[in-house]
């Protein structure tokens, strides 16, 4: 255990050059303890509050070109199933206006749009306004990648690409029926602000869904998962994407993210009702769900 901790703290130091001048008070802390160092978590490191968004932007700008390929590689294609499950829980309906936050490459957005179109085709009653999906992402590079994919899929209607921060969405109050954030909320500086922003833009009765890596249940599974994510993922990052630091951040930020119950409490605290969550693969990922009542 101690050896593992030493290994992890060692890696935090490796992250330091990556963060460059923006990082300050970089302290090597184990994932369990929340030290009072000023700033916010950036993986296991601490960075200035206003620096995190820029760092995240830079990071995703770097990984954008190979983002989807890396997701397939790291999850063994399972992220597709997780996203399918997310959309199944959302249950898109005809005429739905949906917002997908931090969904730059459009993975979730395409699925939601397909489901909306399928529902519109199935329902005999035609709707006045066709459903649409707004994709919001902090990183322009990710949005560009998404737009390219949309063009490849010949989707020209129903998608809107918006560059914006999850903490200050460029959308009006009560304007969307559904809000999804897949593997994104972890990278937000202030999760509580992002949640209240979600509550603001959702219509009454709107559905908030969050797909995120979470805490694995069971010691044996957790150790196996740790071994995989701390060794294999950064290695894949180095070999395939040529960017080990970004993928190490990915793994560390997963460990920093609050476990299922705590996050459910945060969602409830933001004012959502009927909050529940569903673990997939024993908690490797969890889908949190809430409604604006």
């Amino acid at each position: 255990m101690l050896a593992a901790l030493r290994r992890r703290t060692g890696r935090c130091r490796q992250l330091a050059p990556l963060l460059g001048q923006a990082a300050f008070g970089l302290s090597a802390s184990a994932p369990g303890d929340r030290d009072p160092t000023p700033g916010v978590d950036f993986g296991f490191a601490r960075v200035a509050e206003d620096a995190k968004a820029r760092l995240i932007g830079d990071l995703f700008g770097r990984v954008a070109p190979r983002y989807d390929f890396m997701n397939d590689l790291m999850s063994g294609g399972l992220h597709r199933l997780w996203k399918d499950r997310l959309v199944a829980r959302l249950g898109p309906f005809p005429g739905m206006r949906h917002l997908d936050v931090a969904g730059g490459t459009g993975d979730v957005a395409f699925r939601v749009l397909d489901a909306i179109r399928a529902a519109e085709a199935r329902r005999a009653r035609s709707v006045a306004v066709k459903g649409s999906v707004v994709v919001c992402d902090l990183t322009p590079e990710m949005l560009e990648a998404g737009k390219r994919r949309a063009a490849n899929r010949r989707i020209d209607q129903g998608l809107e690409w918006v560059q914006g921060d999850a903490e200050a969405l460029p959308l009006e109050d009560d304007s969307v029926d559904g809000y999804t954030v897949a593997f994104g909320i972890r990278n937000v500086t202030h999760i509580d602000r992002a949640l209240s922003e979600a509550l603001r833009v959702l219509k009454p009765g709107g559905h908030f869904l969050c797909l995120e890596f979470s805490k694995v249940e069971g010691r044996a599974l957790a150790q196996l998962y740790d071994a995989y994510s701390f060794n294999v993922i950064p290695m894949l990052g180095r070999w395939v994407a040529g960017d080990e630091g970004s993928y190490r951040y990915l793994v560390e930020s997963i460990r920093r993210f609050p476990p299922q119950d705590e996050f459910a409490g945060m969602i409830k605290g933001a004012g959502f009702g009927c909050v529940s969550y569903e673990n997939l693969m024993a908690g490797v990922v969890a889908i949190h769900s809430g409604f604006k009542l």
């Binding site: 959302l90 959702l202 069971g218 009702g273």
Partner: protein, 363 residues
């Protein structure tokens, strides 16, 4: 109608065998020996009744019977009736149930949506099981404002019921219901079971309402058959407005996902029917009665689907016939049991005579 005071699984088995034997005797005059009955010396039912008492049997037979009865109660309690509504454990529960009925059954506002109860059950289930490696788990950790959530969910279900005729038991009906409440149709997903939850809501409401309506009548004045006809008919009449989509509802209820809830609510309804009839059985009869009445209810509901007679007249005669048949079973069984005991006594008589003859011939 007189109901037997005590009946066990063993007795039931014997009675059934004896009734078959009696029937066979009446028709052909002899009984195959493979049935394990003392064929030639079977007495008539009338003779048997005189010796039909538990104390007349040897002690080991009584012990055996008790053991069988205990086993079957345990097995039935453990596997068939979920929630511990077996006669031994249920006495205080029943009292609580009847008092809540006395106050107008479960009121609409206090109705707890089944999906939430389900979540809570799962919560407890998870708390008790230490292994956390289940593929998919769903919980609802401590609610911030459960009343609001419940009331929204209830309002949503009630609003969706108005659209069932147009959209069937579907998510579309729930979405239209949400629109009626000025909510986003996305709120339809609050009903996590989807259309099955809507069906369950209808069934729960219909059960509660019909029992409430029946309580306005003086059920004690009616005989048991009339009271049961009244209750089942009142309940089945609630189906009439939705008769077009009733097959769909039954299909949804039969899905493995929804079947346990459907079974539980039917069992609870039938239990309350019997209770309101003044039935206070505490033995195996408790199970027989409930099983039989559930079967009749389900059969009549299915009959209703293809009944095109005016005012469902055929359904009501069908229901009456089935109840008549059910209520005549115990007296048939009494008769059959009587003949079995008579057979045993007669066999004993023959055997003792034979022994007597042999011993006297030896002398």
């Amino acid at each position: 109608m007189r109901l037997p005071s005590r009946r066990t699984a063993h007795r039931l088995l014997c009675s059934a065998r004896a009734s078959v034997a009696t029937l066979a005797e009446r028709t052909s005059g002899n009984v195959p020996s493979s049935w394990g009955l003392v064929g030639p010396s079977l007495g008539s039912a009338k003779e048997g009744r005189d010796t039909n008492s538990v104390t007349a049997l040897p002690q080991h037979v009584r012990h055996f019977r008790k053991a069988v009865s205990d086993c079957s109660v345990w097995a039935a309690g453990g596997t068939l009736i979920q929630g511990g509504r077996c006669p031994i454990a249920k006495a205080p529960k029943r009292r609580r149930g009847s008092s809540s009925l006395g106050h107008g059954a479960r009121s609409e506002t206090s109705y707890r949506a089944p999906e939430q109860a389900g979540n809570k059950d799962e919560d407890q289930d998870q708390a008790s099981s230490s292994s956390g490696s289940r593929e998919q788990t769903e919980r609802e950790p401590g609610q911030s404002d459960p009343h609001q959530v419940d009331s929204v969910r209830l309002a949503l279900l009630n609003a969706a019921m108005k659209h069932v005729k147009a959209h069937g038991w579907s998510v579309a009906a729930l979405e239209e219901g949400a629109r009626d409440l000025k909510l986003s149709p996305a709120a339809a997903r609050m009903i996590s079971e989807g259309p099955g939850g809507l069906v369950q809501h209808f069934v729960d409401g219909a059960n509660t309402d019909s029992l409430k309506e029946c309580q306005t009548h003086d059920l004690q004045v009616l005989d048991q058959r009339a009271a049961l006809v009244l209750m089942l008919r009142t309940r089945l009449e609630k189906n009439i407005p939705y008769i077009g989509s009733l097959p769909q509802a039954l299909r949804l209820q039969a899905l493995p996902k929804h079947a346990p809830t459907a079974f539980t609510s039917l069992a609870a309804f039938v239990d309350q029917c019997w209770h309101l009839c003044g039935d206070r059985s505490m033995d195996m009869a408790w199970y027989h009665k409930r099983t039989a009445l559930s079967a009749i209810y389900v059969a009549t509901e299915l009959y209703m689907l293809t009944d095109f007679s005016p005012g469902f007249a055929n359904t009501w005669t069908f229901l009456d016939r089935r109840l008549k048949g059910m209520l005549s079973v115990p007296s048939l069984m009494d008769e059959a049991r009587g003949s079995l005991y008579a057979a045993i006594v007669q066999a004993g008589g023959v055997a003792s005579k034979w022994v007597g003859v042999r011993s006297s011939s030896k002398q």
